[in-house]
């Protein structure tokens, strides 16, 4: 009786959580070797060879990683700075609600908003024009669909920082950093030393798993680079989808090669995190 119930739970877990992922991965794998797919002709390594000889995927990986890394690092730094400096202010009733408001903004809207503000014909460009800083739209600096992915990074920061602020406010409380700071004072540390040797290291240590997870999320981000990215190089999800949806039907398998590689990389990253630390309540 009890056992039966246990088994049902386990089976549901497999069906809903494990099976879809396994099927998707298996399908992509078979497709990448040409085993399935309407215009494919059976097992072949040519798609894998093609992807490995072209630099597109590699460039996209590096490009995405750099953007995700910059996005995460800047967001975390900003959040840490705000929490350490202005922590007490968040006790305020209004501020404590306002700080949650950005969580109601999805990536697609955030990207749209960034575009509206920073495009060469956007709000800031108009202001600059009215202030006679620029005479034509082209003179406004390139901030969206640009080479340096500035628009994407700005959006990532606006999406992640509020989240990290809330996270660090909680860590501050849970890890009793207030008390640890007092203790450090008693042991002779000044404010700067407390920040550098106590508060920061503890907050970073407590949050590194999440930081890595968010890095992985940004690596796979889709909507934001779709709206604010350029045509080449593209971030991973955009690239993979483009390859999967391309005109040349005979090359769709290359998209699946990329999907397989991307999946293997993030799976390895997860296994790595797991081997370093037991993940428990890290679903954010």
């Amino acid at each position: 009786m009890k056992n039966k119930e246990k088994h049902i739970g386990f089976i549901l877990f497999v069906v809903f959580a494990v099976l879809p992922f396994t099927l998707a991965f298996g399908y992509a794998l078979l497709y990448s070797f040409g085993v399935i797919g309407i215009v494919n002709e059976g097992f072949t390594l040519k798609f894998w060879k093609e992807v490995f000889t072209s630099s597109t995927l590699g460039v996209s990986f590096i490009y995405s990683s750099v953007i995700a890394l910059i996005g995460v690092i800047l967001s975390v730094s900003l959040a840490l700075w705000i929490v350490l400096k202005y922590r007490e202010s968040f006790g305020n009733k209004y501020l404590s609600f306002i700080i949650y408001m950005p969580l109601a903004v999805p990536g697609i809207v955030s990207a749209f908003f960034t575009y509206q503000l920073f495009a060469q014909s956007g709000f800031f460009a108009r202001l600059s024009y009215q202030l006679n800083w620029i005479e034509t739209a082209q003179q406004f600096p390139d901030l969206v669909n640009d080479n340096w992915a500035i628009g994407i990074i700005i959006t990532f920061i606006s999406l992640l920082t509020p989240f990290f602020i809330l996270l660090y406010l909680n860590i501050y409380k849970d890890e009793r950093i207030e008390e640890l700071s007092q203790l450090s004072r008693a042991l002779g540390a000044n404010k700067k030393q407390i920040a550098l040797k106590v508060s920061l290291p503890i907050m970073l240590k407590k949050s590194w798993v999440l930081i890595v997870l968010y890095f992985i999320f940004l690596l796979g981000a889709y909507e934001v680079p779709l709206i604010l990215g350029q045509e080449s190089p593209q971030m991973l999800s955009v690239l993979i989808l483009r390859e999967l949806k391309q005109f040349d039907l005979t090359k769709i398998s290359e998209g699946y090669v990329m999907a397989v590689l991307y999946t293997v990389v993030i799976m390895s990253a997860t296994v790595f995190i797991f081997s370093r630390k037991k993940l428990r309540n890290n679903a954010y």
Binding site: A17, F21, Y86, I99, M101, F113, G220, E223, I240, L279
Partner: protein
């Protein structure tokens, strides 16, 4: 005495946070706004009226999104709660948790693209059911991971206590575990609702443009460079989460992160 920059900085921060909300609302009330004007030529309810009367289907999308997201949030939260218990008490707990991380961290749109064949096979491709199932597949792992921490030593002791007091599994769920997890359930619902509500890539793949949720609409408007409708649908997209957040304030604020 040093001058404190704190009030100044905090005001800036509040402005920065509120600005997008105000700007999007403003944009949604505007029309005829060409470069380099800072103010639009038209400012009024025109766009909002179009929402109610025209065939753009925005209102329909709104309700469709509500149905999808509530279904996803509800099923993912409840099943996640019940099934996470089996995972947490399983001898191979760590491996199972690792497995549930995979569908959670993979880019949903890539996941969806690799799964679409099976949705076609099941005949739910391009259907609302299909979108709900697909979004469930990414929110369910989230719920599993989210509730992992609920099933600790203390909860186990509670369950034991209920059974020594004569309660069976059902009564321990209905009388103790669910009420105990109320706050977490609310937060999990809120989060899985948002996962679904904000989802674009996966929905566009599995919905093949047939299931037009609000995010899909926003994207359509952006693509046809219709920024005023884009802003309007963005407003519709932001409103429900804000309301939910306000209602859930007490729980969300303590448990969200």
């Amino acid at each position: 005495m040093r001058i404190s920059l704190k009030p100044f900085f905090l005001s800036i921060m509040v402005l920065l946070i509120l600005f997008p909300f105000v700007y999007l609302l403003w944009l949604s009330l505007s029309a005829d706004w060409s470069f380099p004007q800072v103010m639009p030529d038209y400012f009024g309810l025109k766009n909002w009226k179009a929402l109610l009367i025209s065939e753009t289907g925005l209102l329909r999308s709104f309700f469709q999104s509500v149905i999808i997201s509530v279904s996803v949030g509800f099923t993912a939260t409840l099943s996640g709660f019940v099934i996470s218990r089996n995972i947490a008490y399983h001898p191979k707990k760590n491996t199972l948790t690792l497995l549930s991380y995979f569908p959670y961290i993979i880019s949903p749109v890539v996941f969806g693209a690799c799964l679409s064949y099976f949705f076609l096979k099941l005949g739910i491709f391009g259907q609302m059911t299909g979108v709900i199932v697909a979004q469930f597949m990414i929110s369910f792992p989230y719920a599993l991971i989210f509730f992992n921490s609920f099933w600790g030593e203390k909860t186990k002791n509670m369950e034991d206590l209920v059974s020594t007091l004569g309660g069976n599994r059902l009564s321990s769920f209905t009388k103790v575990l669910l009420p105990l997890a109320k706050g977490m359930l609310l937060v999990c619902f809120f989060q899985t609702f948002l996962i679904s509500w904000f989802e674009y890539g996966l929905t566009s793949v599995i919905g093949v443009g047939k299931v037009q949720t609000l995010t899909i609409k926003v994207f359509l408007f952006i693509r046809e460079a219709n920024y005023f409708y884009g802003a309007l649908s963005s407003c519709l997209l932001i409103l429900p989460p804000l309301v939910l957040m306000y209602i859930n304030k007490k729980y969300v604020f303590n448990k969200l992160t």
